[in-house]
Symmetry: D2
Subunit: 477 residues, 4 copies
């Protein structure tokens, strides 16, 4: 079963009967029919279907190295700069289908797993490490087109820099025991996006681990015994794509993952109880470069969408001639072209890494993810500043199908379009920036790679400044 | 019937059976029991009740000049600086009851009507003007403690500076005829906040009128024949104050007001078809100074609330020691103290105006409303930057009452508080900044006095710069 | 000799023959005739002369409490709110004479000394403390109208937070010995503005002292044996007020102060070798509130001057109709009115402090000095953005007196003025923002009260947030 | 005489005896020995010398198409993407020799002339146009390695958008007559940087011409009869490279160019009195793309220099561990990598244009020049914020050679370096950002391609937004 269809994805998830709680109740029945999940699962299914669409198949799959059957291109281990460009195109092809609003479309985790697996030899000969498990899981996932979620961080009990957990019962998940079957994990981790609607959950420690028992990596099926996904409130506004053009389709859900004495079978353990490996694997692997390449490629498509929305508003209410309007749009154009340029630079300057992969220039991509969390919120601000009262004149689909339709038609018409189209556009702009779905998108982009301040410090530390200091020295001599 | 109680307010509105449409259906039955309105009406009623609470009565009422019965202090015509301070205290007393989140609590419109009425003599002897109607309506409103909404602007068909409406049927409301009973108005106006839950709607043209028929001012009961309020989607998240601590209480609703051949009785017409008056009354009257004084006083209370929320988050997750956190809070403190200082300055520099009122310094208040639309959105950004993933770990009240409560208690506890309190706090922060209620608050503050760019140009033009230019001249000579 | 004249000031300084080094040479002869000092000394003298000008005398002096002779009003110990307003008027009167460009006009140090002396009882009964010396020096300074400079900080060897000096020879000044005459001080301190052109130098430790020997306070005449002032390069552009309208008049000079085994006589020692006092006197005293009140009052006058310059440029080249120009000026207006409002609030909320002085509200003033270092550099940016190429079309006075004058008259004329006036205006704008004098002004305002980031943290810590946190608690309950 | 040496350059300019006025006096004698010009001419000569340095020759020259002799690479007409990369390397090679501080090193004008000449056929068959003159001048300039300045704009009499010059005598230069020899030009133009120290001056109208007589293009020798260069004040601080490491070397001077009935010989006229051509040639030609490519390449080197200076300060005073310091440096890194990425993108996306040249993508480069005028001033702000009081503790070279050297050595030492090196570094930072040379650099970068607001509007208008609008349409359908 290589590259799957949307139906295969949905059937597989429906059958898992994963333990998911939302608003105080467990999800029962087919999750693909649950109001909080059906939209996003359909959108996800559409991505898989592109793998079987003749117009896209070539762009989004490649022949499996083991079977030559088509498998998802996001699993590809790039060996050339052309491979990188191919990957970018694949990511953007999928992203266009949801305008970049699905931050966790499967290509993200596929890329992540590929990168970790390609760096598996880092684990060789190290205590409590099982590189072979990682490699075989990668192959298994690729050949079965598994969807995955992940959790990288501990609960936010205390964000002081000097915090050490002191609770008797684990809060952050930890290895509390092991037996013949595997390691036993208890505690929680945050925040699995798409938690419960993927085949697997990949867990990996992300640095800063101070207790051995909190450092581990493994992947298990979402329906593993003892595993529980606790959802936040759903941000699906409703079924109507008129009213909620985005949340009805792309609300991915975030979940707290509870491990209640979960047994992780040995063949799915990649490493555990090795603090040095825990703290270094993520950075030493090629994860960052490839994950960032996927992310930035998607963010570009999202920025294009924002630009489209802004320009549509401008044309609809005819405000193009204001210089401050032009300036605001230019800000978006500048951000868009900058992101595009940075991806291109990362590919132009790609080099073969120690694992034999063609790795895009990571520093360049780090610059991109220092920029996006700052500009994306500004985009939403621009939409609000230009949309103005139009963002509050948003009657619903039912209103347009009622006896007051004539009033709406007359009083909500715009210079360039009729009332219905205009309201649809403004509802879209609202759903992108002002609905609880939209604001969660903003929060998501603010923190995609963690605290913006930490990202900025990391860039400072990792950047090679010595040659420029030297140039100053030479003018002073 | 001077200063009313909350119950009187609710009964009066319930009895009106105003023609309100929401989501394609008319509101039927008691509006105070309708899910989209009951919360805000209860909060509004609580304001009226303060007028009869011994602890507050003195602060929020004054003896009617006609009957000596207590009437709402926001109707007071201030004659001294002490009166201004009293008014500020009254406004802030009411605002504290909703933390400044009700932008259209009745004191706003009471102040507005007071200011217009005090300037009624501007209309004396002018064509199609009826100052006596304005004066008697003010007195009537004060003595009956009428609640009011208003509309100041035309539909946003085309925001080009050179736009002239060309539709055959009126879009923007206009006087299409007159008869013995009154003037006849057809068309729509935007955006009546609290439309439908007030006794009256006050209409006034706000400058920039180019066709005589679009310039008028009057007030009519909300249930006048032909008058229709079309609501946007409601942003009440639900009844639970745990889940939706703000939208369940303070969602004021915005409405499009449709005039379907509405007859405005002559005794309620303040002026009509007089383009010079239309374009100047608002600016010539003392409206701006008094309205701004009310608004800024309320915004101060709201800023205090934001500061409280931010500091609560900081203490809960223990991030006080980060210097960038301190800097972000300082931004809020600076804004808060600046707003307070500007109100004080406006009172210290108040002067008797040509209508005999003690008018707070308007320029100073204009500075305040140039500042607030810029800082308030930044406040919401700060909350998101500090709240981070905590703003997405927000299970609902039902979750806490279900069998997973133990998980929540364990995994969502924080350094300083238990899980339930922590989630309540973060849900509050979310409702303030990320729910559709919260983002509407942000939009509201962005545009309270109109386009920020226009406000800035107006400040430039109205500010007296000549003496400073002179000082430069003298150093150059 | 109470309130002195300008001539008395100049004569006194000339006679001191203070040890001042500039550009590798000692200053010899009359310092008031030295090209680097004559301009600023003349401007300073003009301030003193106002004390004898009938038009200003009353505004800038008051009757000495000891002799009833007129003494400088900046020495006044305010006991009422009216006193505060008087002080503000005095400061602004002097500031207008130099448009706020003399950051260290004598009223600053007079105010400082007054505040310290008023708090002298803090030193009572403490080890190595001599409050009586401080009191008598204050009286002496007031009665003789002494001019003063001061140094508050150590050399910038290493700004790491964990730095401890390790040099064998003192770098930062310290008490190395004492004898019958007094304490003996060796080392350097930064950055005495006006160093060498004042009667006295006041030294005081400013907190953060970790070695007893670095904590002391005293005042000594500038020509004390062993005392040396090392100047930076002078930023006087030249004598021509056409070419250098500001630096020719107001360049105050900054100096490194070297103590080469300086003996500070016992009757001038206020305290020494008492680390607790060293670290607390400045904050415990009323210094901050009064110093900030003086500073902010001056900064207001400076902002008015900036506004005058900007508006003059706008009128000269006729750019008033651009909306972005209006917006930029509005930024300045907003800052100006905000600063004014904060001073007024600090006076309205003034309270008698524990030393019996009417102290302006310090928190309010701290807000002001958090704002100014951020807005002042923006003012200079605005001047550059509006002045544009005009700031580079600046021929000198000599050019206007040469045979190419006709060319200049023709080609540099502006819409509103002739070429000479236009060039004078643009040279003024250049001297304010782009000459080395102007950029030093900017740096000075950036750091007047220290590192902006530290100021912001201090504001956070000192601000009372508890009541707002409580308000949030009450809505959550 | 193909690619010249520095000496050839200097000799040629010295012999011209161009009519230059500075500070009211004409320059007489060898200009290369004049204090205001000798530094920059020496720096310029060093660039030419690189053409004969075996280590650089290949990188900075290419074989002349007419003679196969080596000529300056900046004259190259690029036909391939490799040519573009070569050009970038050449520009950056030269820029490194002055750290990007010479905004008008000859490669800028060489590139400009090359671009205009390559587009000469635009002038074919048009009234008053002489494409053959342009072509032969390009060849002549290339083969003689002529240095050039240019003027693109009119005097800043009145910047109102509706201004029409009304003076009787020309202010802006215009064609007042023609005769057998050529056209006769009278009036002035702004602001020729390096005016007077180049062989030629190229004049070209830049759009917005409303009177035929103001639209023309030609090139004439700097010493043409009737041509006069009027300098602003020189910003050379002095000869000492210790004191003025930058202004002593790179001060390029800006001049007003006066045409006093200058006869432009017919063979040097490219076009005149053709308003359509005047308004379109600059935009229609490949000028913008190539000029921007040169400019951005240079700005990258300048940004590298700023980064070097900032990091040197950080290491010298040991402030690396502050998170806000890291954040500020990251801002610079982000800008640097963004500029680099945009140049790379412009080359990757280069296409053959209608003139047969490989043209870098102009939109991408327009983004870069929208960014740089905003970030460069921020760089100077960062230097001031980090340098702090160190930027005012800057004694001169003479001070270090005087008897107070011991004091300086002791009290100005820093954690990482001795006093002399530390002062040299801080003087460099000061000369870059706070001397009148440094602030002129800032102004120059702010306005290199004109008013930042206009640049932003142009970007908006030229950017292709239609496909993104279409994408929005498709989601709404």
């Amino acid at each position: 079963m290589p590259a799957i269809t949307g139906k295969q994805y949905i059937d597989r998830i429906d059958q898992m009967q994963t333990n998911i709680w939302i608003d105080g109740s467990p999800v029962t029945g087919k999750i693909s029919e649950h109001p909080s999940f059906k939209g996003v699962m359909k959108s996800q299914a559409a991505l898989y279907d592109l793998q079987h669409d003749v117009a896209f198949k070539e762009a989004v799959t490649y022949p499996s190295p083991s079977t030559s059957e088509p498998v998802g291109l996001s699993f590809l281990q790039p060996k050339t700069k052309e491979d990188l460009t191919k990957k970018r195109n694949m990511v953007q092809q999928w992203a266009k289908s949801n305008n970049g609003l699905m931050g966790r479309s499967p290509d993200y985790m596929n890329t992540t797993l590929m990168a970790f697996a390609s760096s598996a030899s880092f684990l060789n000969e190290k205590k409590n490490c099982f590189p072979e498990n990682l490699l075989s899981f990668y192959e298994y996932a690729r050949e079965h087109d598994l969807s995955m979620t992940h959790t990288f961080i501990d609960p936010q009990v205390n964000r002081s820099p000097f915090y050490l957990e002191y609770s008797e019962e684990p809060i952050a998940a930890r290895v509390i025991d092991k037996n013949e079957e595997g390691i036993i994990v208890k505690g929680a981790r945050l925040l699995a996006t798409q938690g419960g609607i993927t085949d697997e959950i990949l867990v990996i420690s992300s640095g800063g681990v101070v207790e051995e028992e909190k450092g581990f990596s493994f992947s298990i099926p979402s329906n593993t015994k003892g595993l529980k996904f606790i959802c936040r409130e759903s941000f699906v506004g409703g079924d109507s794509t008129f009213n909620y053009p985005l949340s009805s389709r792309y609300e991915e859900m975030d979940t707290i993952v509870v491990f209640d004495n979960v047994v992780v079978p040995w063949d799915r353990v990649f490493y555990y109880n090795n603090i040095v490996v825990s703290n270094n694997f993520m950075n030493e692997s090629s994860f960052q470069a490839f994950a960032l390449h996927q992310v930035v490629s998607r963010q570009i498509v999202k920025t294009e969408f924002v630009l489209g929305v802004v320009q549509s508003i401008i044309e609809t209410i005819n405000i193009e001639e204001y210089q401050h309007v032009q300036e605001k749009v230019s800000e978006i154009i500048i951000a868009l072209e900058t992101m595009k340029a940075l991806v291109i630079k990362s590919e132009v300057e790609a080099e073969l890494d120690k694992w034999g992969l063609m790795q895009p220039d990571c520093t360049t991509l780090k610059v991109a993810i220092n920029i996006f969390p700052r500009v994306y919120p500004r985009f939403t601000e621009i939409i609000q500043l230009l949309g103005a009262s139009g963002l509050m004149s948003i009657p619903t689909e039912d209103a347009f199908q009622s006896s007051i339709r004539n009033d709406l038609d007359q009083y909500l018409q715009s210079k360039a379009d009729n009332a219905e189209n205009r309201v649809k556009l403004f509802r879209l702009a609202w759903d992108l920036t002002m609905s609880s779905f939209g604001t969660r998108q903003t929060l998501y982009e603010r923190f995609f790679f963690g605290d913006p301040i930490r990202l900025s410090s990391e860039l400072y530390h990792s950047y090679n400044k010595a040659s420029y200091v030297q140039r100053v020295k030479s003018i002073l001599e």
